[in-house]
Each structure stands twice: as structure tokens, then as C-alpha cells.
């Protein structure tokens, strides 16, 4: 297991390195930080352009630029944005905001997917199965932003009216300025209120896909010989289902969830836009619009880090759960 782990960690680092090269090539080919000055009338003097080119070291060879960027990133220096502010601290602060939504959505999606997947498998072709299957199909076919807007514009208001108190918030990640005066509990509940709707809309799509997957796995397990054996040797149905069935049916989901991290981070860009969160997604979109190279690079390398990291964790977890993998 030790060598298996070591090998996986090393190969993940290699993949991350290769990915950083891809990210750098893609971003450098796409964004020209001095583009905004090119179309300006009257045009700025040529020396100004040369100064900027020197400042961003645009004339250096590709691999020299890549190396200087990469060595910065490894030491936690993500460079500066076009406005001269350092990218690293801003990215980390925004990562904290986005992480709330992403983590909550993943937990919610996984829990719901397991619950519904198992339920629909056990009650296959019964009304519950048909109901949830239909719901899943609808969720998969919905554009995320439209569903989010539906929650924001209609559900939130109705719900708040019904309760007679403002519980669900539709804008921002917290009430502006609450951190200045609120107590810990007050800030916490305020953030929870802001978190609920974005979490639901972000979790919906992943939940839908994962619950179908969980249903299929659970059906496989229910038809297996060891389940028949467990029942034949006299185990009560519930115990056989939970101890023998569910435990095995959960293993394949780890891989699927790990692969879904990228999709959730992409989805968070949309959800942040709908609910006006000041997170990583907002930063990414604003930077792309202003051709700001370093923030985009930072966003993508952080995303790649999490995607590769989660895949590593899933690999290791899989090996722990299923001994056939690591003994192979």
C-alpha cells in the first residue's frame, strides 16, 4: 500500500506539471494584456508599448516565461494582475468563498444521490422509482442558470413570505458589512442563509447524474450472488441490504464523484454569477473580459490542482475499499 500510494502521488504531480504547461499555453495564446491599449485613440506612443512588453516580459521565449511563472506558483506567488494587485491573496480569499458553495454542494449531492439511488434501486419499477427517475431526467435537462434563477426569483420570495421572516438570501455570500459588527453565530447563520439556494442549484445537476449511477450500481449489487447468500444464511433483509449491499455499492461512486469535481467548479462559475457571489468564478470572468493573464492562470491551475487532487484521493480510497486494486 505504501508503494502504491507513493507511485500515485508521484504520477499525480507529473500530471499536474503537464497540466500547468497546458494551462499556460492556452492562457498565453488567448490573452494579450496590452490589447486594451492597441485600439485606443489617439494611440499611445510606441515606447509605452515597449515598456509594457518589458514589464510583462512578453518578448521572452515561451519556456522562459513558463518557467518564471511556474517557479512563482510553486512558492505561492501567482504574479500580479494588470492593475498591479497581487493575484495570490485575492485568489485565496475568493477560494474560501467559493469553497463554501462547492463543498456544501458536493456533500448535498453525494448524500442525496446515495439516498435516492438506493431507494430507487430497492423499489425498482415502483411509483417512487418512476417519480425520482422523472425528477432526475428533468434536472439533467435544465440549464443550471435557469434553475438557479427560478429558485432565486420565485422560490426564495415565496418561502420567505411563507415563514414571515427573511431566511433565504438571494444576493451575495453574506450581508455586506456583517463581518464588521456581527457576532460569530450571527455571521454563521447569515452565511448559511446565503448559502442554501446556491448550494441547491449547484448540487442539482451532479446529484441527478450521480443518483442514476448509484441506482445502476445498487441494482447490480442486489442481483449478485453474495446478496443471495446473505439472505440464504438467514440475515434479515435490512441488515443484508445495509451491511452487504450498500457498502459494496458505494465503492464505484467515489471515482464518479472525484471526476465530477471539475464540472462542479465550472458550475460554480455560473451559480456565482446568478447569486452575485464575489468568489473565484466572478474573478475568472472579470479577468477574462479584461484579458488579465495572471488571474486566469491562477484560477485554472487551482482548478487543475483540485481536480487532480480529488482523483488522487479517489484512487487511494478505492484501493483501501477494494483490495483487488492494490494487490494487482
Amino acid at each position: 500500500m505504501f508503494f502504491f500510494t507513493l507511485r500515485r502521488i508521484l504520477s499525480s504531480i507529473l500530471v499536474l506539471l503537464a497540466s500547468s504547461l497546458l494551462v499556460f499555453a492556452l492562457a498565453v495564446a488567448s490573452f494579450d494584456p496590452i490589447a486594451a491599449f492597441r485600439t485606443r485613440q489617439p494611440p499611445p506612443p510606441p515606447e509605452f508599448f515597449q515598456n509594457l512588453r518589458d514589464q510583462y516580459s512578453l518578448d521572452d521565449p515561451f519556456f522562459v516565461r513558463y518557467w518564471s511563472w511556474l517557479s512563482g506558483v510553486v512558492t505561492g506567488d501567482f504574479g500580479e494582475s494588470n492593475f498591479g494587485t497581487p493575484v495570490g491573496p485575492e485568489l485565496m480569499q475568493r477560494l474560501g468563498v467559493t469553497a463554501r458553495m462547492v463543498v456544501a454542494a458536493m456533500v448535498l449531492a453525494v448524500l442525496l444521490a446515495i439516498l435516492v439511488g438506493v431507494l430507487t434501486a430497492v423499489r425498482q419499477y415502483k411509483p417512487e422509482d418512476y417519480f425520482f427517475t422523472f425528477l432526475t431526467y428533468v434536472l439533467i435537462a435544465l440549464p443550471t442558470f435557469w434553475f438557479a434563477a427560478l429558485l432565486k426569483e420565485f422560490v426564495a420570495i415565496q418561502f420567505n413570505d411563507l415563514v414571515g421572516e427573511r431566511i433565504l438570501y438571494t444576493l451575495g455570500e453574506e450581508s455586506p458589512g456583517i463581518a464588521l459588527y456581527g457576532g460569530t453565530a450571527e455571521i454563521f447563520w447569515d452565511r448559511v442563509g446565503h448559502l442554501i439556494l446556491p448550494t441547491i442549484s449547484l448540487a442539482a445537476l451532479s446529484y441527478a447524474a450521480w443518483s442514476r449511477y448509484q441506482r445502476a450500481t445498487m441494482l447490480d449489487v442486489l442481483g449478485s450472488d453474495y446478496m443471495r447468500l446473505a439472505r440464504a444464511k438467514g440475515l434479515p433483509y435490512r441488515r443484508a441490504l445495509l451491511r452487504h449491499g450498500l457498502r459494496n455499492a458505494l465503492i464505484p461512486l467515489t471515482t464518479v464523484v472525484a471526476l465530477g469535481v471539475g464540472a462542479i467548479m465550472g458550475g460554480a462559475v455560473i451559480t456565482e454569477q446568478v447569486f452575485v457571489w464575489h468568489g473565484m468564478g466572478e474573478y475568472l470572468l472579470a479577468s477574462i473580459r479584461s484579458s488579465d493573464l495572471n488571474p486566469v492562470l491562477g484560477w485554472m491551475i487551482v482548478a487543475a490542482f483540485f481536480v487532480i487532487g480529488f482523483n488522487l484521493i479517489a484512487d487511494l480510497l478505492y484501493a483501501v475499499l477494494d483490495p483487488r486494486i492494490r494487490l494487482n
Binding site: 488567448s30 431526467y137 428533468v138 435537462a141 467548479m265
Partner: protein, 314 residues
């Protein structure tokens, strides 16, 4: 059914001029594999329902404008932002007085185009890469699949945004279709590769080799037809992914701009959700129904190609 029983059911044997009428409880008909698949598909209620609804919607999108009195780009200055039914506009109008139903029909037209272009490009690239990687193996396989792995470490939506930001002139239904198509083949190539890997070792491929068949002949006569099921299923489901991606890109401001598409109508409707809900609901529900139908058809085809499917006697 045993042979004795079968004999019993036949008309009593005896000397007769007339041709013997054989009566059985049921008839057995030989069906080719294709007929079996078609039969399973035709018997699936969800898939057929999806197909019929989708066909009607697409037909309405392409034929409807010929009979409808408002053009999609026709302004009605007297009826700006009116609700459904006002001024002869069955679904109302948007802020410039353009008829929503006419725009939806145009959106369906443009979006079918988007789907066809994007899926064709992805199909071509995905089949080519999957086939090469799976058939030749070795360094070709390694190189191509590592490249696919690498691109998959980045969120697909963000890659599309970055690429689309380079082509501000391509903000039409066709331009976005090309961008989505060029990056949409990754999962297809993986699916196809793994299938080809398995098929390559089978006896019929070996036999074809032994008979002197060229690589190209083996690929196109033996391998591709055997993976056709997964390719068709993938292509169908990719249609739904394409319009949803197009909608998301458009909403974020990197998709369709100077054109009409379903995604564009849905995105525009979001900002009007409170004040003019018809602009929010109708395009959104339209997109939902289309994507839903496509997914139902895709799942129906998948079940139809699955030989272990016993729901319909083949």
C-alpha cells in the same frame, strides 16, 4: 415448446389436395439484428414519446414560420413587452416588440443547426482519436489518451469560455457550435478506445487479418460497425449537452450574441424573470423539453442496443 406438442398442434395429417394450414399458438419470425434493435426501440414508450415530441417541435420550428404572421425580426412598436395574448401575440413580446413565439421558432431552427454542427465535428474527431488509439495501441494510444486526460483536468466550461473569448466574431449559433464541437469529443474517444481495445483481440478481427485485410478495411468494415451502438447513443446524448452548454456560455456572455438561439432566449429571459415572466418561462421550458426528449431518445437507443434487454421480445 417440445416437438411433440408442436406436432399435435398441426392440422391432422392426411391425404388432401389443399395446402396444409399449420396452426400454432404463436408464429416465429426470423429477425435480423437490426430489426431486433428497431423493434426494441419502437416498443419503448419513453423513447417514442420523446421522438414524437421532438419531431413535432423541430417541425414547428422549421415549418411554422411559413404560416405564422410575425417574423422573428419584426418589430411591433405598439406592443412592446406585452404579455401572452395581447395584440395578437400568443406568447407575448420582448422589449423591442418582437414576437416571442416567432423568436422561439427561430431559436429552435438555429439550435438544431448548432446541435448538428457541434455533434458532427465531435463525432469525427472522437471516432478518429478513439479508433487510432484503440487500434494501434502503443505510443499512439499513450500520446492521445494522456492528451485527453490532460484536457479533462480543466473544467470543460472554463476551457470553452477561454477559447470563445478569443473569437468575438464567432458569437453566432454556428460559431459557438464549432467551438463546442472541437472540444466535445473527449469522452467519446475514451468510450470508443476501450471498446476497440476489446474488439481488436476477437477472433473475427484475427480472421480478417489472416485473410489479408488492410488496417483500413478492418477499421471500417469490422470495428466501427460493432461500436455503432455506443456511437449513436453518444451522438444523441451529446445533442442535449450541446444546447445546455451553448445556453450556459451565452448566459456568461461568451456565447451567442448577434443571433437568436434557444440559449440566447433563455439567457435574456433570466433578467426579466420578475417583470416579464413569460420571457423567462417559455424559452426555459422549451429548452427543457427539447433536452429532455433528446435524453429519452438516447436512453431508448441504449436500451435497444443492449442484447440483455428482455423488456421486448426481439
Amino acid at each position: 415448446m417440445s416437438t411433440t406438442e408442436q406436432r399435435d398442434l398441426k392440422a391432422p395429417a392426411g391425404p388432401s389436395d389443399k395446402p396444409q394450414v399449420v396452426e400454432r399458438e404463436f408464429t416465429i419470425k426470423a429477425r435480423s439484428q437490426r430489426q431486433q434493435i428497431a423493434r426494441r426501440f419502437l416498443h419503448s414508450k419513453q423513447a417514442m414519446g420523446g421522438l414524437i415530441v421532438l419531431a413535432l417541435l423541430v417541425l414547428a420550428g422549421w415549418v411554422g414560420p411559413l404560416f405564422y404572421r410575425f417574423g422573428f425580426n419584426e418589430f411591433d412598436p405598439l406592443n412592446r413587452s406585452v404579455g401572452p395574448g395581447v395584440g395578437g401575440h400568443p406568447l407575448g413580446t420582448e422589449g423591442l416588440g418582437r414576437d416571442l413565439l416567432a423568436q422561439l421558432m427561430r431559436g429552435v431552427q438555429r439550435s438544431t443547426l448548432t446541435i448538428l454542427i457541434a455533434v458532427s465535428i465531435s463525432l469525427f474527431l472522437g471516432v478518429a482519436v478513439g479508433l487510432l488509439a484503440g487500434y494501434y495501441g502503443g505510443w499512439v494510444d499513450n500520446l492521445l489518451m494522456r492528451l485527453v486526460d490532460l484536457i479533462l483536468t480543466l473544467p470543460a466550461l472554463v476551457v470553452l469560455i477561454v477559447v470563445a473569448s478569443n473569437f468575438p466574431q464567432a458569437r453566432t449559433a454556428v460559431g459557438i457550435a464549432v467551438i463546442i464541437g472541437v472540444f466535445g469529443w473527449l469522452d467519446l474517444s475514451r468510450i470508443l478506445r476501450s471498446q476497440i481495445l476489446g474488439l481488436r483481440e476477437r477472433e473475427f478481427v484475427e480472421a480478417a487479418h489472416a485473410l489479408g485485410a488492410s488496417d483500413r478495411r478492418i477499421m471500417f468494415k469490422h470495428l466501427i460497425p460493432n461500436t455503432l451502438g455506443s456511437i449513436i447513443v453518444w451522438a444523441t446524448l451529446a445533442g442535449a449537452t450541446t444546447i445546455l452548454l451553448e445556453a450556459s456560455l451565452t448566459y456568461l456572455g461568451f456565447g451567442v450574441q448577434n443571433d437568436i438561439s434557444l440559449g440566447k432566449l433563455v439567457s435574456d429571459g433570466v433578467s426579466a424573470a420578475q417583470t416579464r415572466p413569460w420571457l423567462f418561462y417559455y424559452p426555459g421550458i422549451m429548452l427543457l423539453i427539447i433536452a429532455l426528449c433528446i435524453n429519452l431518445i438516447g436512453d431508448g437507443i441504449r436500451d435497444a442496443f443492449d442484447p440483455s434487454n428482455k423488456k421486448v421480445r426481439a
